[in-house]
């Protein structure tokens, strides 16, 4: 992914993230989130991470944000009159964010990250599966239990009358 294309995608990503946190209507925030996630998936593809990029679209943009939109539609949330905290908190948050970005940029300016040549079949399913089923086998199995617990928890919590 050439530098110019990266700058364009990065600018769009930051713009989408700003829509998420700044727009008053939750539906537009959710759509901004879809945009951010799709653009990050594009960045993943530019970093030769094919399976992770498409998994990002399937899981995040295709399922999680749909869930968000579902809940917003169910609760019929419209635009809010007062959406933001008092300005002191806003300034504090912005200062923290800018500080973090500045620290990272300065640190990287002193020691930039090397870009190695591409390994064969890097980013494909085979490599990821080899990692998942050897080094990370225990977290893999625990993740499946975690998802089961989350499903049961969500179903129970969604009931009209809690037990």
């Amino acid at each position: 992914m050439s530098a110019l294309l990266f700058l364009a995608v990065a600018a769009l990503t930051i713009a989408s993230a700003l829509v998420v946190i700044l727009h008053k209507s939750p539906v537009y925030s959710a759509l901004g989130l879809v945009g951010t996630l799709a653009l990050i998936a594009m960045l993943f593809l530019g970093l030769d991470a094919q399976i992770v990029g498409f998994l990002q679209i399937i899981v995040y943009a295709g399922a999680i944000v749909v869930l968000f939109l579902f809940v917003i539609m169910l609760l019929n949330l419209q635009e809010e009159p007062e959406a933001f905290a008092p300005s002191a908190l806003v300034a504090f948050g912005l200062a923290g964010g800018i500080g973090l970005a500045a620290i990272v940029a300065i640190g990287l300016a002193r020691a930039p990250l090397p870009t190695g040549p591409l390994r064969d079949r890097f980013g494909t399913t085979e490599l990821l599966a080899e990692r998942l089923f050897t080094t990370y086998l225990l977290p893999f199995e625990l993740t499946s239990i975690l998802l089961l617990v989350a499903i049961i928890g969500a179903v129970v919590l969604g009931k009209k009358k809690l037990p």
Binding site: A49, I51, G93, L108, P112
Partner: protein, 103 residues
């Protein structure tokens, strides 16, 4: 595949996104938008992991991103169910109005 852009830029972008997400969590009052800002933070971290994976030619970064996605999905499901319950109890999802344990 052609060479990617300088990888340091990706890290700066993910720091900026993380900062934006954190600002969103602090600043917004709607619980669902706070959740979305948390998702942005998680994605910024994913971007960092994938960048390092590309730099080190190591698929471990991809595996970690896989787990982060699974955990984020589980968290979103349970969190939204909780928000639904809060709405049923208080008829609002504004964080400023959900401050008392009773009433």
């Amino acid at each position: 595949m052609t060479d990617p852009a300088p990888l340091s830029w990706y890290l700066v972008l993910s720091a900026v996104l993380f900062g934006l997400g954190a600002t969103g969590v602090l600043v917004r009052r709607n619980l669902i938008v706070v959740f979305m800002a948390i998702e942005i933070m998680l994605n910024a971290v994913n971007l960092t992991f994938v960048t390092f994976a590309r730099s080190q030619q190591n698929a471990d970064g991809h595996a970690i991103v896989f787990f982060v996605m699974a955990v984020a999905a589980a968290e979103a499901a349970v969190g939204l169910a909780i928000i639904l319950q809060v709405f049923r109890a208080r008829a609002t999802v504004n964080a400023d109005e959900v401050t008392m344990l009773r009433w």
